[in-house]
Amino acid sequence: MTAPAAPPDPAAPSPSPSPSASWVNRVFSTDHKVIGKQFLFLGLTFLAVGGVMAMLIRWQLARPGQPVPLVGRLLFPGAGGVISPAAYTSLFTMHGTIMIFFAVTPILIGGFGNFCLPLLIGTRDMAFPRLNMLSFWTMAAATATLTASFFVPLGAAASGWTAYATLSTAIGAPGAGQTMWTVAIYFNGVSTVMGAINYITTVVRLRAPGMTWFRLPLTVWGFFLTSILNALFVPVIAAAMVLLFFDRVFGTQFFIAGSTIRAGGDPILYQHMFWLFGHPEVYILILPAWGIVSDLLSFFARKPAFGYRVTVWALIGVVVLSCVVYGHHMFTTGMSPLLGESFMVLTMIISVPTSLLFLNWLGTLWRGAARMRTPMLFCVGLVFTFGIGGLTGLYLADIVADQYLHDTYFVVGHFHLIMAAALLLASFAAVYFWFPKMFGRMMSEGLGKLHFWPTFLALNVVFGGQLLIGWAGMQRRLYDPSAYEFLAHLLPWNVWISRAAYVLGAAQLVFVVNFFVSLRWGKPAPANPWEVGTLEWTLPSPPPHHNFDVIPTVVRGPHELGHPDALARGKDWLGQDEVLS
């Protein structure tokens, strides 16, 4: 593997115009660092919105039909503060939509992808800064559309975050809310593809001299591979949204079965198109998290990442396999047994590279001189929850087990352990780790740990509890499970899961306080507070507009910790561009 053919001119200015006093220039900035922060703030805001919705859902499951305290009459005035069945359906639909498309995606991919990529590979900005700005504002437009959908007659979308046809067609979901949902997801996808074009081109073309593929930080590998999946599969859901839009607005029947008098489409077609995107989407979101955690475990264990190359090939293996496993979401649709078995085997095989990744994390931690700072706590927490989440995925990959577990809370618990717990823990690890570089101030370690422990414990109780009640047969999306005799005995379980959820929600207030207090009053951050060697830490905190005065020349990998040459110099790390004399 070699460095890029035409390295950037070391003396070239930043491609993005310098910030001026004009607020227009600041808001419509083309600087990747500003855009990264814009994505981060957008994502955190919607994380809070989606989180509040989760609390409301948990209230209904623990106290079915009782008025929501404090905010109930404000949010549900027509029902005396009680969450109606229609409102509940809309709540879990929008909770899932917001969390996946408008919280985790902007935080991890938009926020940290934008902020970190150019800094980590040693360049001054993205390959296409204006496209980058357009990507953010397209996401903002999608967000505005989704938000506006709450205020239209019949309310926001209510067909689940998967929007299965025919629930999501005009037959199942009349009103403009579902149509606006379709438009919002389409533009969210447009924004994501714009980002993917930029990330791929930037990594392929703008790596600093000496930054070979196998010297890239694993964070960069995560974002790069995610971008490939984004470019390939987000267009598939965009196509589904186009056809759903046509079905809803122009009366076409792509996702509505035909009849003897009119040829039509097939509701299962929607599921194929959705999951062809939807399963890679799991990896789209988790790959950056895996990359970040692989780097941070090494940094805080003060050891080189165990099996760096194996990790890279495992990530590539996951990307390849993720393209051919989506059918396991559709075992109960009556697919051919041969096809089902193929999807089952392929899904099981994906656990091989994933296990390699997991073992490499353990290898990195093994006998490390771990510094249990806040980012490290969140990373170790991720290793644990991802382990449980991944193992429970094997049950759902098995056709026989899936026939029973399909559409139960076991599925909800499984994907929340991956898509919520692991991704949130990775997002928080990233915030605590790069906050000093982003804002020039340190976050409070004490508050960070106070944030971590209740978060980690509560989310395992919540999502672990969901696994148990799902195993006991509780189906998802029921307005009041206790109304069914065979599920009534699970009400106390739901009460305890909800209590843990409230603890989880309350713990995030500690993060909010820590974030904003540190932003204003945090201790000024030194250039390299974590004592690690990747390129962003060679810059002041926060970095100047143009990032690097001179483009660095990279001479080694990202994880040179505990290196004898470093120890001889009285430290335990070497910078990627540090020349030893």
């Binding site: 035409a6 390959a127 267009p235």
Partner: protein, 167 residues
């Protein structure tokens, strides 16, 4: 060509390759949907469907191919050929709009049957992509970019217009 210009050209080429890959997946998904709808029908076109004017649709397609050729000429014969390409592309859109009008009047619009559904959804979405290409050509004509940048942008526009013509 300077090193910087060469590097920027390659950046554009990589970016356009990824973009066209994404567009190809988008249209592949739409064509997959068409294949499924077609496979659900007892015959194609479904019985009772009014006749589809294949000749008009094909001649519109020829306009788009001609627009692509004109844009190629702009590289060697000057920007007036880009203007010709823009005109041909605009004519394609006008002719498509006319065709849609006739189809709706002839009870072959969206919502009237499987053939109308497929044709309108795919051709309307395709037309939006053509419109995007025409905006890019118009911007190219108005651009005051450097002598290095213009041919680079023209090459990217040609690639894109070739793609929408193939689709």
């Amino acid at each position: 060509m300077s090193n910087d210009a060469s590097a920027t050209r390659l950046n554009g080429a990589v970016g356009m390759a990824v973009f066209l890959g994404a567009c190809a997946m988008l249209f592949a998904a739409l064509l997959f949907a068409y294949a499924v709808v077609r496979s659900q029908a007892s015959a194609w076109p479904p019985p009772g469907t009014p006749p589809f004017p294949r000749g008009a649709a094909a001649s519109n397609g020829l306009l788009l191919i001609a627009a692509g050729f004109a844009l190629r000429r702009a590289g060697t014969r000057g920007p007036k050929w880009a203007a010709v390409s823009l005109g041909l592309g605009a004519l394609f859109l006008l002719m498509q709009a006319g065709l849609w009008g006739r189809l709706v009047a002839g009870h072959l619009g969206p919502g009237t049957g499987a053939l109308g559904d497929v044709f309108f959804a795919l051709s309307a979405f395709h037309a939006l992509h053509v419109l995007g290409g025409l905006v890019a050509i118009a911007l190219l004509l108005r651009s005051r970019a450097s002598a290095d940048a213009r041919p680079r942008r023209l090459r990217l526009a040609i690639l894109y217009m070739d793609f929408v013509a193939v689709v």
